[in-house]
């Protein structure tokens, strides 16, 4: 039912493990590979959490810098991607506490090229009959009004295709809480979308 994400959080940990070790030892190339591997997912996650593309890029850079500084403390008990997602969520929470900017769907790069990429997946038209752009705008607005606890779970599950276990590990909450938060988040989001 759901499309395949560009990169999966469930990438084999073994693929990132040696790179993490080398990057922690000071190998810039290894760290470059790690950044190139996770930059799109991290930027997309931050964009969906904070709603601002520019802030998402800044927060993504801070996320990778934070990961580089703390590579030595990574214990390899979880996947690197999960650990990286957790760092990104923390930065998003900190930014949200400072300021929650209004949602913006337009972002222009330094060369004038729009940074908004194609939809995450080629999906069939929405049966509700809403236009895609209008539906996307309304979902973005509804997500902004959604509680942080539900928004994180809904974004990780429905937009980042993270499993319940990965969400639980990323947010450091039980799987049962992920289940209840996900169901409650979806219900509230549906109610917000139904509200004119």
């Amino acid at each position: 039912m759901a499309g395949q994400p560009e990169t999966s959080v469930t990438d084999p940990a073994a693929a990132d493990g040696p790179l993490v070790a080398r990057a922690a030892a000071g190998d810039a190339g290894a760290f470059r590979v790690l950044v190139e591997r996770h930059e799109r997912r991290i930027v997309a996650l931050l964009h969906r959490l904070c709603g601002c593309p520019e802030q998402a890029l800044d927060l993504a850079q801070e996320t990778f810098l934070s990961a580089h500084r703390h590579l030595g403390s990574f214990r390899h008990e979880s996947r690197f991607s999960t650990w990286l997602h957790a760092i990104a969520v923390n930065h998003a929470r900190a930014a949200g506490r400072r300021r929650r900017p209004s949602a913006s769907l337009q972002m222009v790069a330094a060369d004038g090229r729009p940074l908004i990429a194609e939809p995450a997946a080629d999906l069939p038209p929405v049966s509700a009959g809403l236009e895609r752009e209008e539906l996307a705008r309304r979902i973005t607005t509804a997500l902004d009004r959604l509680d942080d606890r539900y928004r994180e779970v809904v974004v990780l599950a429905d937009m980042q295709d993270a499993s319940y276990e990965e969400i639980a590990e990323t947010l450091d909450i039980p799987v049962g809480t992920v289940r209840s938060r996900l169901h409650r988040g979806r219900t509230e989001l549906q109610a917000l979308l139904s509200t004119p």
């Binding site: 039912m1 998402a56 810098l65 934070s66 996307a136 937009m159």
Partner: protein, 430 residues
Amino acid sequence: MTNPSDPTNRPPLDADDPRVSEWIDGRLAAAEAAEVEQAVRESPALTRLVADLQAVKEAARLVPVVSPPEGFVDRVLHAVVSGGGAAAHATDAESDRVVEQEWRAVEAERLAEERAEAEADVAQAVSPVRQPVGGADSRGAWPWLSVGAALAAGLLVTVVLNRPDDTPREIAQVTAQPERERFAADRSVATSAAGEVSPPGAPAAARPPARDEAAVMEKALQPLQDQPPALAAREAAPAARELQANGMLRQSASEDAKARPADLDGLAAPKPAAAAGLGAPQDRPAVVTVESWTEFDRLLEAHGIEAKPLADREEGISADPSGDWTLELTGPPAAIGAFLAAAGEGRLARRRAVAGEEADAGQQAEARKQADKAEEAAANRGAVAKSAARKRDEEAVGRGRGAAGRVLIRLVIDQPPEPNPKPEPEATRE
């Protein structure tokens, strides 16, 4: 205890059950998924809920995401190589600075709003609000009550301190009231008498006494109230004479002074003399004592004046029961004054004293003293009469009228005692 894993112990599926989302995500086991699927088919509400949740999940995937620009990795690596930590800290510091500025702006705005709200509250509290009188909150009425009580107390103290002392005032009123009434009666009588006796147009007689004159008269008569009648009469005579001489008391000093049994005629008799020639009202005739009508007629003829009894007057004044006559002398005022000086009070007694009719030296001295006193009074009266007559003549001449004076006199015929008849011899009687 219920075992969720036991299908027989699971609670019925409802809209809030997380298994709905798990069934949508395909995370349930086959048996549990079949159970949820059956419940969804049997419940329209669950069917509608599942459809809505699936639509939300699909729509969430339609939200566009930003792609990292080219060079993002290089920028990150450059930051790492050039001191990523420092760069990160710098970025954090810059962000913190921006956030702090925004926070300060927001805080300033909040403080301004709170300050404005506080000022509005203070203004509303300070603004005069009409307190309901007698209402539950009567604090606003206390100041007015205090002010009213203070004003009432001050007014009461003022009234008490300035309370008039009625006792002396009443005494003064009781003392002065009879005099005022008597003076008013005298003035009315004087006014009427002036119209009858004095020539018309006499200003002195027609003019009522001024207020200060009444006060002076009251002051002059005040000591008489506390004295015996005789003494009062004696003392009232000079006072009345003085008042008359000053023209302040035209008619009489006081009814009391006139009603006293003392013989004012013999002591002073100022009024007829003062009235003579002045045309002033005269209430008591001057006493003229002669030995006989013959002498009276001789004096009248000598002074060129006429005498007419008042029998034909409206008042019906005629001879007194004592035998005296009340006459009205008509003639020039100067002549009348000279007549009164020659035949007035005490003249006859003086003449008799000089003639040695009185044998007793003491009586002679007394008589002489009285005669001197009477003569002096008469002289004074004559002088006053002459002066007044002169003034009146001048006024009369000024008005083109003839000079004529009128004065009432009481004529006393005091015949000399006849020599004792010699006793007849018994033989003769026999």
